[in-house]
Symmetry: C2
Subunit: 144 residues, 2 copies
């Protein structure tokens, strides 16, 4: 627990699953419906600060989320990243990408190249409850 | 093998290690000495298209590289990402980040926020041969 760390101070989004070691949260970023983060609960800086067993558990969870995103949203591509330059507390971004999204084909951290299509966003937003259930069910969460 | 894919057509950088299933390459990006990519050799789109055993092998390799980068370069943070919007062939970017680098604290795909310090880059560039050896040795490569 590091009080100045935003991922220690709060969940960091809408909680979908928490097994004590890690949590899965919905990011609710308007341009990216279905954007999920998987956060290691303890304040650990890098993946290689975890044990091999902890790393495997975290990555397995990341890929359960990826699979659910693919099944529910059918994106063009999934972007997966652990950055943490400002918040050095291990967390993975999982971003479903579509050819009509605001940054495609660039990473979401680049400048946007277009306004995202409002109808497409609305359709994807409507699938977020199903994605939430799919993740919770796949991870055996009580709220699944 | 997909002929139009640049990661099928060539190694994609200076080869450090290849075990048949995957390869490790030095990216030689001037602003980011020690930038490494781990590339799955077969043309596979997403991590969840691999088997669990293949995924574990790939991620273990990614984290061997991360550990070597930390030991040799002592970066502020490691950024790890699988994007592939333009090249949908599984590959991981591993980018050692420093507070004086061109994009810090932003991801390297954002607009640069400063010119990188030439002396710092030179010092880091001088460590790339040691990083190459450390990765090859850790992965048991013949050229280690």
């Amino acid at each position: 627990m590091t009080p100045s760390c935003e991922l220690c101070a709060g969940p960091g989004g809408r909680l979908v699953h928490d097994d004590g070691q890690l949590r899965v949260i919905m990011v609710d970023e308007p341009d990216y419906p279905g954007f999920v983060r998987v956060v290691w609960n303890a304040h650990v800086r890098e993946m290689t600060d975890l044990t091999a067993v902890e790393r495997a558990h975290l990555m397995q969870t990341v890929f359960v989320v990826e699979r659910a995103q693919r099944e529910v949203l059918c994106p063009h591509k999934i972007n997966v990243a652990s950055l943490g330059n400002l918040t050095p507390h291990v967390h993975w971004h999982l971003v479903p990408r579509f050819e009509d999204d605001a940054h495609f084909p660039k990473p979401i951290w680049a400048e946007p190249v277009r306004g995202a299509d409002a109808d497409a966003l609305k359709q994807r937003q409507a699938l977020v409850p199903a994605l939430t259930r799919a993740i919770a069910t796949a991870l055996g969460s009580a709220d699944g």
